[in-house]
Amino acid sequence: MPQIFRPSADIWLRAAVVMVFFLVLGGGLFATGLARSSYATGQGWPIEQTVPFSHKHHAGDLGIDCRYCHVDVERGPVAGIPPTYTCMTCHSQVWTGAPMLAPVRDSLASGQPLVWTRVAKLPGYVYFDHQIHIDRGVPCVECHGRMDQMPLAYRAHALEMRFCLSCHRDPAPHLKPPDMVTRMDWAGWDLVAAHRAYGAAAMKRFHIEPAKLTDCGLCHR
């Protein structure tokens, strides 16, 4: 019976096995990396909108409070995207003819809603309640980042579960006075001696027990 395989076949087989191993390993690493990349989570990727609304201009330069537009943030689970009517409270007076705002005016005239693309959307099985976070003094900037510096809004954080848990496991450093939740710049807050222990005091005042903050049923139901 003639020999089928050449002596080098053995080498090739071993090489192939090693190659397959590295391919699978590399593929796995690539997939994991991709899933955690900002490309997949949307972190830092500005999103095109029908109307190129600039939070930088409105909240940053003009200093309009978040709650002027996101009125439900203090009293309900969602902050809400403001109705056309809210835009027009100002834009019926200023920039009335701006072509950029034509869709807003059309929306008010026709009664058809503006179509926005959501930026900070959580998966359907996650239930986040703005009201209680605002009430306890978790400032907007904790999750949404420096909205006052974003010409077009983007996700400042990946909003993955580990991000939520990082705060739920240790809320104290993230808590700020509830009447200042919309303040964006907290640099230097802790440098003032009177503020240094605020988080710990707030935890005590609100009876926040981190052990209870990681119950699955708090967010998943």
């Binding site: 989570t41 949307g42 999103i47 439900d72 009293r75 309900g76 689970p77 969602v78 809400g80 995207i81 403001p82 109705p83 056309t84 009517y85 929306s107 008010l108 009664g111 058809q112 809603p113 503006l114 179509v115 926005w116 693309t117 959501r118 930026v119 959307k121 998966p123 359907g124 099985y125 239930y127 309640d129 009201q131 209680i132 009430d135 306890r136 609100f206 027990e209 052990a211 209870k212 119950d215 699955c216 049923g217 708090l218 998943h220 139901r221």
Partner: protein, 955 residues
């Protein structure tokens, strides 16, 4: 002889084993027989490869469409509640309807309404789905083809003009039962405008015999409303006081209030029933006697004679009957005027009248037996029956006909031949929610608004007028009933809100008045129907018939009722009391009869009475009278829709004279059998103690006993700790909790095939047990939600930690972690976990998606789910309390099942709060845990049913 190679012999052997296994577990092997191993591996490989892709389709940046202008009072993401009502059998069922951004998502009882006090029945819970029913008719039709309103308007205007000329001669209106003051006013106006026109009413399940009985007893038709909260002794002669129907919530509330007082030691609560087939009332009776319909009639006579009601001679009774009667008579003598004697609504009016005389004799009229004018509006001179309409049609007296909310072609007894009579009418309009069997025979079909999207009014069962307000603008091209009544008279400008307001102008002023707004906000007017007093006149003693042949009783179905609800999937899949059957009706037979004929469940029989016959599967019903068969209405619909061809229609057996009771029937097995889908295969209790009975003394608290030792790790102590107590002494097994849970928690419907495989999804089930002799058992109901074991076996079984325990004592299921191994379900001793074998919800049409509760995840394929004590309500309550800076008050968080329960059998609360209601309940001596021996330490515990007091029975 060639030898069989050993490996082939082995394979044959395994084939035989497989066949044997397949015979034993047919569902496990279904679909596998045609697939060989190679194909199976291919499919498995492909599904494994594709499984990973399933998670990739979610768009992280979906569209958002905010309001253009936010309506007043809307807080995004928060529900709002409006007081309104839905109608059932003509009566208003007052509800507090929850909406999310304008979508009605849940109906609760109206807490302020005295008739329901916040409770509901299964029908009311399921009414929500009627709004979103994809089978609803979405626009007008002419001869079955879609048309537009202009066409049908033109036809109505032309007809009105013609009728004006002849004063309405030849015009007939046929409606269902109406209590609405507005519709009544409009019909009266129509009859005044067209004096020659006539109005007929047809409601398949109605009070006609009851009213006739009152007429015989009191000389005029009166509505008799039992006030069970005042009745210390109730004798039910086949009268399902606690059973399904418009009066269920109110009467169950009353009975439970009496029962609760009795538990506290205040007064008596005796309930004795004599009935041919088990009813919800019979199941909770202290002494239930099985008697044929004729036997029940004889017992009424005997009771009348025993209590000295004039002119009645005592018939001869068997020993068991005499003993029951003596007990009943003694109970009535003890309770005096605080007693109620009822005879079933479908019994001979003369017998029912005799019961009214007994109540009068006992001094119960005005106390437990309140009389009032009927709430259902009567046709002028009571001349408007369906039979009269059919006769007139045949005589050529009917030229045009408008049918409102009635489906006589399906629901009327077959001998009326409504379809034939309709053909004799020149012009036929039909208005209803569905293009049903009757619509198919009409020239014009006009779709009407559902109660949740219309303006209207109706009377609740206590006569208080409910105002119906729309929660959402109609989805489809539909009109209000009141508007259509005006359209028929040529008035095309009618506005439903103004028509409604015009009825109430005298009392509430115009639409802008504060009184009107207040009434709208409250949902009803506090004007109960005035009770009238009447003395019964002695009447001739009714005759009772005794026949040896079989008697067929026709009853409304406890879920789809008269068939009008047959398109409601929640109700079709609702396990019926006693049988736990879904998606089918059956011929219920007694065990003795089944033994005699060699029948088993599902065997198809032919049921004949003279030339009339039907075929259907039998179900062996323990505790049924051997000479009685029971069939239910509401099945065998022929109109397209969910209910089409589900079950069999009983109309062929019914006649006008014998529509509820068909004597002289014969039963012939056909040799065929049908698969039936039940959710509970075994109902005999045997030696188990799943349900318990305890003496009344056990209501007193008993000191807690320390739990047995356990290997489970200790849990940290914190507050609150949630727990539930279910009182089996007042649970009547009405299923309101089951549908409430389904509506609250987006529980999917799976269909008959899946139910038959044990894959139903109800998070809360009501188990039914029979204890003792199968021919005459004691019945028990037991609602079984998740037990929320403190030491939960399911949590130990889960390989991915998807079954976890929370600090407040909840046993949680984390859907996004679950990989569907089903280990938890196999570890669960209570079998309360439900697995999504398929994507039951992904294919739902958009309108059904709109019905879902947005606060609860919609589960996908391959995920385990179960009761979580309405976690979304707990979280909402917790946030509300925290924001307000206080603790959650007792009773602030109520589960959906608790809120719906008409007897307050379910109580939920914080077991670490010593003052809470649930703690008081769990402290009672009759508190017990299901499968206590498993040491799972369930948070859901039961209160044993109270045994009758020893003194009650001996007379």
């Amino acid at each position: 002889m060639p030898m069989t190679p050993p490996h082939i012999a082995r394979s044959r052997l395994s084939d035989r084993d497989l066949r044997r296994a397949a015979a034993e577990f047919p569902t496990a092997f279904e679909g596998l027989s045609q697939t060989d191993r190679r194909d199976l591996l291919k499919v498995m490989g492909a599904s494994l490869a594709l499984a990973g892709l399933a998670g990739c389709h979610q768009d992280p940046h979906p569209e958002a469409r905010p309001y253009v202008r936010v309506p007043d009072g809307i807080v995004l993401g928060q529900s709002r509640a409006y007081a309104t009502a839905v109608t059932f059998g003509g009566y208003a069922q007052p509800v507090l309807a929850t909406t999310h951004e304008g979508r009605p998502t849940k109906l609760e009882g109206l807490p302020d309404h005295p008739a329901s006090q916040g409770a509901t029945d299964a029908f009311t819970q399921a009414a929500l789905l009627g709004l979103y029913d994809p089978g609803r008719s979405k626009g007008p039709a002419r001869l079955g083809q879609p048309t537009d309103w202009a066409q049908i308007d033109a036809a109505m205007v032309a007809n009105a003009a013609r009728l004006d000329a002849v004063k309405g001669a030849g015009f007939r209106l046929l409606s269902g039962a109406i209590t609405s003051p507005t519709l009544g006013r409009l019909i009266d106006a129509m009859l005044q405008r067209w004096p020659q026109a006539r109005w007929h009413a047809f409601e398949p399940v109605n009070d006609d015999l009851r009213l006739e009985a009152a007429r015989q007893a009191f000389g005029r038709p009166l509505l008799v409303r039992p006030q069970l909260e005042a009745a210390e002794a109730v004798i039910s002669f086949d009268d399902d006081l606690l059973g399904p129907g418009p009066f269920q919530t109110s009467q169950a509330r009353g009975w439970a209030a009496r029962r609760a007082a009795y538990q506290r030691g205040q007064g008596g609560s005796e309930l004795l029933t004599a009935e041919p087939a088990p009813s919800l009332t019979g199941a909770v009776s202290q002494h239930r006697l099985i008697a044929s319909v004729a036997g029940v009639d004889r017992l009424v006579l005997a009771l009348a004679a025993a209590l000295g009601v004039g002119g009645v001679a005592a018939p001869a009774l068997a020993a068991t009957q005499a003993a029951w009667l003596a007990e009943a008579a003694a109970a009535l003598r003890r309770a005096g005027g605080a007693s109620y004697v009822g005879v079933g609504a479908f019994h001979d009016p003369a017998i029912q009248a005799l019961a009214l005389r007994i109540n009068d004799r006992l001094g119960a009229i005005g106390r437990t037996t309140v009389l009032s004018q009927p709430l259902i509006k009567a046709t002028p001179g009571n001349s408007g029956s369906l039979a009269a309409l059919v006769a007139d049609a045949h005589a050529g007296l009917v030229d045009s006909l408008a049918i409102f909310d009635a489906n006589p072609v399906y629901a009327a007894p077959a001998d009326l031949e409504v379809a034939g009579a309709l053909q004799k009418v020149r012009l036929r309009f039909h208005a209803g929610l569905h293009a049903d069997e009757t619509a198919a025979l009409c020239h014009w079909h006009a779709p009407v608004e559902h109660d949740l999207e219309t303006w209207g009014d109706a009377l609740a069962v206590d006569g208080r007028p409910s105002l119906i307000q729309p929660l959402v603008r109609p989805f489809y091209a539909v009109r209000a009933r009141s508007v259509l009544l005006q359209n028929l008279q040529g008035d095309l400008a009618a506005d439903p809100r103004r028509l409604l307001a015009a009825t109430w102008t005298d009392k509430l002023g115009d639409l802008d008045s504060p009184a009107w707004r207040a009434a709208q906000e409250r949902g009803f007017l506090d004007e109960p129907v005035t009770a009238v007093t009447a003395a019964s006149a002695a009447g001739p003693a009714p005759a009772t018939s005794a026949s040896n042949a079989l008697t067929v009783l026709v009853r409304p179905d406890p879920a789809v009722w008269d068939g009008a609800l047959a398109n409601n999937p929640w109700l079709q899949e609702l396990p019926r009391p006693f049988t736990s059957l879904t998606w089918d009706n059956v011929v219920a037979v007694a065990p003795a009869l089944a033994r005699r004929l060699g029948l088993k469940n599902g065997d198809v029989v032919q049921l004949a009475a003279g030339a009339r016959m039907l075929e259907g599967p039998v179900w062996i019903m323990p505790g049924q009278d051997p000479s009685t068969l029971v069939v239910t209405l509401g099945f065998g619909r022929t109109a397209p829709g969910l209910g089409q061809a589900v079950g069999f229609d009983v109309a062929p057996l019914r006649t006008v004279g014998a529509s509820w009771r068909v004597d002289g029937a014969t039963l012939t097995p056909t040799g065929r059998s049908l698969p039936l889908a039940t959710t509970q295969d075994v109902t005999t209790l045997g030696d188990f103690d799943f349900v318990r009975t305890a003496p009344r003394t056990s209501v007193a608290p008993k000191p807690p006993t320390p739990p047995p030792p356990s290997f489970y790790p200790p849990k940290p102590e914190s507050r609150p700790q949630w727990g539930m107590s279910i009182d089996l002494d007042v649970c009547i097994g009405c299923n309101a909790c089951v549908v409430a849970c389904q509506a609250e928690n987006n529980v999917p419907v799976v269909g008959k095939t899946q139910v038959a495989k044990g894959r139903h999804m109800h998070w809360l089930r009501v188990d039914h047990y029979e204890a003792g002799e199968p021919d005459d058992p004691a019945f028990f109901n037991q609602p079984v939600p998740c037990m929320h074991c403190e030491q939960a076996p399911c949590e130990m079984g889960c390989p991915v930690n998807a079954a976890v325990h929370s600090d407040d004592g909840l046993n949680l299921q984390v859907y996004n972690r679950c990989i569907g191994t089903r280990t938890c379900s196999s570890y669960c001793p209570y079998k309360v976990r439900r697995f999504n074998w398929f994507d039951f919800t992904g294919g739902d049409p958009p309108e059904l998606r709109a019905a879902r509760n947005p606060d609860v995840t919609v589960r996908s394929r391959g995920v385990m789910e179960k009761c979580n004590y309405c976690l979304q309500r707990i979280v909402a309550g917790k946030i509300a309390a925290q924001v307000a800076g206080r603790d959650i008050a007792d009773g602030e968080v109520r589960t959906a099942c608790q809120q719906a329960c008409p007897t307050d059998a379910i109580v939920f609360g914080d077991i670490s709060d010593g003052a809470s209601q649930v703690v008081a309940r769990k402290a009672q001596g009759r508190n017990y845990a299901l499968l206590e021996e498993a040491n799972t330490r369930p948070r859901t515990t039961y209160l044993a049913r109270l045994a009758p007091d020893a003194g009650d029975g001996d007379g």
